[in-house]
Symmetry: C2
Subunit: 344 residues, 2 copies
């Protein structure tokens, strides 16, 4: 009897994950939410616990040709903390597992740990465990984070309501452009190792790629302003993709105003130099690790003067779809690939 063999490529990564997760049911009364949000939600009695994990693999998620190990350690923690922030939670403890090949010296691994420790200090988390192993194949970093959130303040993906305001922290698109700059310089270097990298005027976009921050400052700011987001997600795959996740889970539509998208001046300049549309970078780029969230209209006055928060649109009935309202007054459907210009 021939055994069936389906290639992963036939399903794609998301298709595979959907298929594997289809058979998973949670059964415990203290499991509030399992797979499907930025973090799992556990009932601890007085408050909720949050649990999330991320895996970073060499030559899949990072290229050590241009990624300093210290920054990599910092990023491994920050991207996990960002998932806790996206639940409006406070990270508390992390575990870090490493797979290390002999290519790394002890000093190199200490650099990685220096970045991990710096992130623990910045985000006020304790490193409480992990596992260190030899690896036959480069570096891998697996981080898990435990966090907490009071039951009244938790923000899910699935609870945005029609007429809520759509907000995003910081600015968008820079991390993606930073990666393009670094990839280009790597090619230049490989072609001629005597060339000096040309990074002047690109410091911000490179920093956004190499040393992303989790926006815990925005979580604290919202708390101080007395605002609980009605829904939240972190922008890791790009604004378009993550907005679609939020709208699908909340069963709503949304309008985003192009002119309200927060894009840094340097992002515009580098985008022009690289011949990439700055709106495409912002919608589609990914790895910004900003927070995308919705608030009640009644809370607008509490955040309108914040330099860290932009109101970029609002939530609509699902039938309206998820659309970008351009500066020219046109409406384009937003797709997972970014946004689709109308054919005329």
């Amino acid at each position: 009897m021939a055994q069936q063999r389906t290639e992963i490529a036939e399903l794609g990564e998301f298709g595979l994950i959907d298929r594997l997760h289809a058979g998973i049911k949670t059964t415990l009364p203290d499991t509030i939410t399992g797979i499907g949000d930025d973090a799992a939600v556990l009932d601890l009695g007085e408050e909720y616990g949050l649990l999330t994990t991320d895996l970073l693999l060499e030559n899949v998620h990072f290229d050590l040709a241009f990624y300093p190990l210290k920054h990599l350690g910092y990023k491994a923690v920050a991207v996990n903390v960002s998932d806790i922030a996206a639940m409006n939670g406070i990270p508390r403890q992390i575990t870090v597992s490493l797979g290390l090949s002999n290519r790394f010296s002890v000093e190199a691994i200490e650099e990685l740990y220096a970045g991990i420790n710096a992130a623990c200090t910045d985000f006020r988390v304790d490193l409480v465990g992990g596992d260190t192993s030899a690896s036959r194949s480069g570096l891998l970093i697996s981080v898990s984070v435990f966090g907490k959130v009071s039951k009244e303040k938790i923000a899910y993906r699935h609870s945005a309501k029609v007429s809520d305001l759509l907000c995003v922290s910081g600015d968008l698109g820079a991390a993606y452009l930073g990666l393009q700059v670094l990839e280009r310089e790597k090619q230049v270097y490989l072609a001629d190792p005597s060339m000096q990298p040309e990074l002047d005027g690109k410091e911000y976009v490179i920093q956004r790629q190499l040393r992303p921050e989790a926006r815990m400052d925005v979580v604290y700011e919202l708390d101080e302003a007395g605002v609980v987001p009605t829904a939240m997600i972190d922008v890791s795959d790009g604004l378009a993709s993550d907005l679609l996740h939020l709208c699908r889970r909340s069963e709503v539509g949304a309008v985003v105003f192009e002119e309200n998208l927060p894009i840094d001046d340097q992002t515009y300049l580098v985008a022009t130099e690289l011949n990439i549309g700055p709106i495409t970078a912002a919608m589609n780029g990914g790895e910004d690790y900003e927070l995308l969230f919705t608030i009640r209209q009644a809370d607008y006055d509490k955040i309108k003067n914040s330099p860290n928060i932009s109101v970029i649109g609002f939530i609509t009935e699902p039938a309206n779809g998820v659309v970008l309202h351009t500066k020219g007054g046109n409406r384009h459907p937003i797709t997972a690939q970014g946004w689709t210009p109308l054919s005329s």
Copy 2:
């Protein structure tokens, strides 16, 4: 200025981990214990939370030439649950991250998940999250477990007291012998693929290697008997190594009676066939995932009739060291390599 380069091999794996962990301090009031026990201990208010993680890498921790994927999925969960059991805790939720190369079909990954789900059912835990990624280099599995334990029932490594009884669950040495059998059969197969494996009479030792169980049944049994271990650790590296950990952390010595070591009949038979000392396998073998624990002498009557628990010795003053009392009446120091026969 020349940069220093220290090879990992100069420090060894344990030396590297010690050096990396030396700089790590915990700062949060709700971090009760960080690195250094089977799981981290977090203060949740009414009770303690437990957090632990383990990494399994292909060709480092498992060989897919003889490891069925379903068993591997089960083992990945069981070894993590075992760390929660070793704190006398109850596992609740797990996350599973996978790195997958294209070599694996969707059906193969579903086999792996079938094992993961079977373990979740057996150990009553919910799978609540994870991360799935392409891998350039074989299979990796990173599991994290969150568990709970009441504050009165937690068992650390560091709290064994002089005159406590030393106990171990189940039997020892079989998993190591199972691995030796599987390695031997692999070599036979590689030399002549038409050879049939000779596994008759070796089912138990092979099962102990391929499908280890976490001894949650013993945690529940102790609870029902009204016994809280004074200290506990799971036997993952071998009885000798893990007993030394427990004694060092508790600042005590111990005597183990050779004649009390629980060794299955099949373990004796296979050890003889492979020309491996059964006591060496039991002391030194590893991967048994049994529980090694200490109890007050006053609790002896509560466990003496249990078929799952053997009293193998007792705790002494630290000056007496950690020794094996042989059937012949000799005393040998136990070292991390197992035990050292005296030179005369």
